[in-house]
């Protein structure tokens, strides 16, 4: 016989067609140190094998398992049920601000397309025939670049951002933070190209500094600070300062 404390009431988003869906209720046995991803996996393996979700590493490295948990974007593999559940209840939904493919799986294409649009790609400054130039890790500029390199592309910041909700074309915190990292990377040869890309209509100047990206980033990165940096550098570049 299980008591109320041994069972977690979980409502999971199920896509019924391309446009909409509904929450389905499941009762999942509680276990010690259980993560939200464990809950989703339990449902898929024991209660309803048609539930679709995405994960890979289970240790917070790959950035593929982010979902909305009780209304907040979280990496489900590193989120303990104990911390996320409210009154013994969990609501699990696909990431906000992205199209849903099925159930808990979102289409990440718009998210990654924006990385490219923000010129978040390497712009070579040397060829393979040149000698490798050592990077001095102690310079102020390298320190700034290092602040953003632990991004795992989980799109939690993108889901948290109300500016993305309001303007679907806005590049969003992750792509802009990548751009800022490149602007501060001495090995990148496209600083001007990046600044041009991020100062377009849907670029960094859309940011309202709400700070939800920074608030929710599971790796404790600071996209808001990166975007402020881009605003400063693009404005200075425009003013020819």
């Amino acid at each position: 016989m299980t008591s109320k404390d041994d069972v977690l009431s979980v409502s999971v988003w199920r896509q019924t067609d391309d446009e909409t869906g509904t929450f389905q209720q499941f009762d999942v046995p509680r276990q010690e140190s259980q993560t939200v991803l464990d809950i989703v996996s339990y449902i898929q393996q024991n209660l309803d094998s048609t539930l679709t979700y995405r994960f890979a590493c289970r240790v917070g490295m790959c950035g593929s398992c982010a979902m909305m948990v009780n209304g907040e974007p979280r990496w489900t593999c590193r989120t303990h049920v104990q911390k996320a559940a409210v009154d013994g209840k969990l609501q699990i939904a696909p990431l906000r601000n992205l199209p849903v493919i099925k159930d808990l799986v979102t289409d990440m294409d718009p998210f990654f397309d924006k990385w490219t649009k923000a010129e978040g790609v390497h712009h070579p400054s040397a060829t393979r025939h040149d000698a490798i130039v050592p990077v001095d890790t102690t310079t102020a500029q390298r320190t700034i670049a290092n602040e953003g390199i632990e991004c795992i592309n989980c799109a939690i910041c993108y889901a948290a951002c109300d500016t993305v909700s309001g303007n679907g074309d806005y590049l969003g915190p992750a792509a802009l933070q990548r751009a800022w990292t490149l602007v501060n990377d001495e090995r990148d040869g496209g600083h001007e190209t990046v600044l041009d890309a991020v100062s377009q209509n849907d670029g960094c100047h859309n940011c309202h500094s709400m700070g939800s990206c920074t608030h929710y980033c599971p790796n404790e990165l600071n996209p808001m600070k990166a975007i402020a940096g881009l605003k400063r550098e693009t404005a200075k570049s425009w003013l020819k300062w």
């Binding site: 209304g71 906000r96 109300d162 939800s212 808001m224």
Partner: protein, 118 residues
């Protein structure tokens, strides 16, 4: 679907800045209209100014001065956020503190105004 929680300080500061901005936009036309009476109809202006002696209007003015001050200090906060080169390792904490200071200063200024108006 539930919206994400927005109870963190910088989001609240963002919302306060927007709402105070809207409040000021709604108030300014009335303010300028009243000022224009000085040129067009002095008697009407004197009547309108008498209206400001009413206690409820004084309380409303308290609110208006708060909106103005919080929008001003909040605007300075945003200028610092966007233009000052970060020096602190605890940048977010600094900006949370600045947001709190903006509200505190606005409260102090508007309360001072209210006490003088009484």
């Amino acid at each position: 679907m539930k919206k994400p929680a927005r109870t963190h300080r910088l989001w609240l500061a963002y919302m306060l800045h927007r709402l105070s901005g809207i409040g000021l936009v709604l108030f300014l036309p009335i303010h300028f209209w009243l000022l224009s009476l000085a040129l067009t109809d002095r008697a009407a202006m004197a009547d309108a100014l008498q209206f400001t002696a009413h206690p409820l209007v004084k309380i409303a003015e308290y609110g208006l001065v708060f909106l103005l001050a919080v929008h001003l200090f909040g605007g300075v906060r945003l200028l610092v956020l966007e233009w000052a080169r970060p020096v602190s390792n605890r940048w977010t904490d600094v900006h949370k503190t600045l947001a709190a200071f903006a509200v505190a200063l606005a409260f102090a200024v508007s309360t001072l105004f209210f006490l003088r108006a009484l």
